[in-house]
């Protein structure tokens, strides 16, 4: 205790001394010490411990926030799951449809620190671009969310038709998404729309999914040529003047419903991914803190031992 006080006093007045003692670890630095007092500093380790502890607190808080947001949005996403099923029951699903104009709608998050879900979506979008490329075919992107925009703008800048950010500023609702869908349909020419998002399977598992919405002309063409949509012709059409008009309304309605479900599922996946990312981050910070604590204690004990040795050898030199 007294030695520590002396050491602290000495630090204020003396010039730095180069200690002849070997430096054991790179974390130990020389501090300013009074003449004759040699000690190893624990200041650096203590600083690191403080910052790691702060990081651990922040990531724990972020995990709690993500967990509460997930709870709120998960019920809504589950309730909206019934929305796309009637369309798939009627029109089937044709991801391998061969069309001239493909539009890939990539859904991603605006904020980061959510694990790898945005990278997965972008990888699949790029892969779909490659898959649907060919002579006389064109593939364009419509991007929802900052993160996908940042990644895709690097190499596919000319293919990006439209990009929308700050989707989640207000809580997601159907009206907002249908206005967005309307916007997209008005500004983009398409034969097939492919919506790529992460479907929320469970808190630790998110499945990248692709939903396909075909334009009414392609639906007619596929229905005539038979195959999956073959029995579409057997359906009577009620209302509207022509079948084409109904199919047009149907395609638009289908797109807005599927987009609504996709946006909700992606938001759920984002919160779940953020929860697990922050959880592993706070666990890592905890481990790092343990290791630093051990180093700190070793350093502290080593310096105490050194002091004791010096005192004792000094005392024995005086006696002897």
């Amino acid at each position: 205790m007294a030695m520590a006080a002396l050491r602290r006093e000495g630090r204020r007045f003396a010039a730095p001394l180069i200690s002849p003692q070997p430096i054991r670890s790179s974390l130990i630095a020389e501090e300013q010490a009074p003449l004759g007092v040699r000690s190893i500093s624990t200041q650096v380790v203590r600083n690191r411990m403080k910052s790691v502890k702060n990081i651990q607190k922040i990531t724990k808080a972020m995990k709690m926030v993500a967990a509460s947001k997930l709870r709120a949005i998960q019920t809504r996403a589950e309730n909206s799951r019934g929305l796309w099923q009637p369309f798939t029951a009627l029109l089937g699903d044709a991801p391998s449809v061969d069309v001239k104009k493909n539009v890939i709608v990539t859904i991603s998050s605006d904020k980061g620190l959510c694990g790898g879900i945005n990278s997965t979506s972008v990888k699949i979008s790029k892969a779909m671009h490659k898959l649907t490329a060919g002579p006389e075919k064109e593939t364009k992107y419509v991007i929802l969310g900052e993160k996908a925009k940042a990644q895709l703008i690097r190499d596919s800048k000319k293919d990006i038709e439209l990009s929308i950010t700050e989707l989640q500023k207000n809580p997601l609702n159907y009206t907002q998404v249908s206005v967005l869908a309307d916007d997209i349909l008005k500004n983009v020419e398409y034969d097939a729309l492919r919506i790529i998002f992460n479907k929320f399977h469970s808190v630790v598992s998110f499945l990248p999914t692709m939903s396909t919405v075909l334009s009414p002309e392609v639906v007619e063409r596929e229905a005539e040529s038979g195959g999956k949509l073959g029995d579409l012709d057997s359906y009577e059409i009620e209302g509207g003047e022509t079948k084409g008009e109904i199919l047009q309304n149907l395609a638009e309605f289908q797109f807005s419903c599927v987009l609504f479900n996709a946006v909700l599922e992606n938001a759920c996946s984002e919160q779940g991914a953020r929860m697990s990312a922050m959880d592993s981050s706070s666990r890592n910070a905890g481990e790092m803190l343990d290791r630093l604590t051990l180093t700190y204690n070793r350093t502290r004990q080593a310096s105490i031992t050194t002091e004791l040795i010096e005192i004792i050898s000094g005392a024995s030199a005086l006696e002897g």
Binding site: L83, P95, L207, E238, N249, L250
Partner: protein
């Protein structure tokens, strides 16, 4: 590193036992094989994305005799009002008028206008006012009704309906641009349908 480990562990666990925290029931995994093949040819290193087919519960094929009940699913963007409920009859407000749907109805795609939807099950009738949407009736006596907004009739306030109707009729007469006229017309249509639903 820890995150990847959990990812690697999750996949075999997914297929072996029931997941206590998962939300989707394990549905029969049907995938579009031609898509998967085309994907594998161009992008061999990545797993293809899942498609809606793999998450759907398959529907039964068209039976040879007319079934006794109609299986109806009535969905809204924020809830599934009825999902695969067996009923006797539904009356849907299609743009060509009120249409009754019984088991064995011919397959139809119907566009809906704002109006009354009633579900008849035995002796009880549940009435909803729907804003608009679509109804698909399949050959296997499955009916899907998708509406943008629906409220049970007892939650509608008649006085507010009258007020809204008067307001929109006045807006229609004083509308100048086509857009305003269209909006006012929509308001008038919806409110008069509400009125008719409440009184009729």
């Amino acid at each position: 590193m820890l995150r990847r480990a959990t990812g690697l562990l999750a996949r075999p666990i997914l297929s072996c036992r029931a997941r206590p925290f998962s939300t989707d029931l394990p549905a029969p995994q049907t995938t579009d094989s031609s898509f998967v093949e085309a994907w594998k040819k161009v992008i061999p290193n990545m797993e293809p994305p899942k498609t809606p087919l793999s998450f759907m519960q398959p529907r039964p094929p068209t039976p040879s005799s007319i079934p006794s009940k109609l299986t109806v699913s009535f969905v809204l963007p924020y809830a599934s009002e009825l999902s695969n409920k067996e009923v006797d009859m539904v009356i849907i407000p299609s743009t060509t008028g009120q249409m009754g749907v019984l088991p064995g109805h011919v397959s139809t795609i119907a566009e809906l206008k704002p109006g009354l939807l009633s579900v008849h099950e035995g002796n009880e009738v549940t009435k909803y006012f729907v804003s608009s949407g679509f109804a698909f009736i399949h050959a296997n006596s499955f009916a899907d009704i998708i509406a943008v907004e629906a409220v049970p009739l007892d939650q509608i306030d008649a006085s507010l309906v009258q007020k809204g109707l008067a307001e929109f009729t006045q807006k229609l007469s004083s509308a100048s641009t086509d857009l305003e006229k269209a909006e006012a017309q929509i308001g008038v249509d919806v409110h008069s349908a509400l009125n008719a639903a409440l009184t009729g």
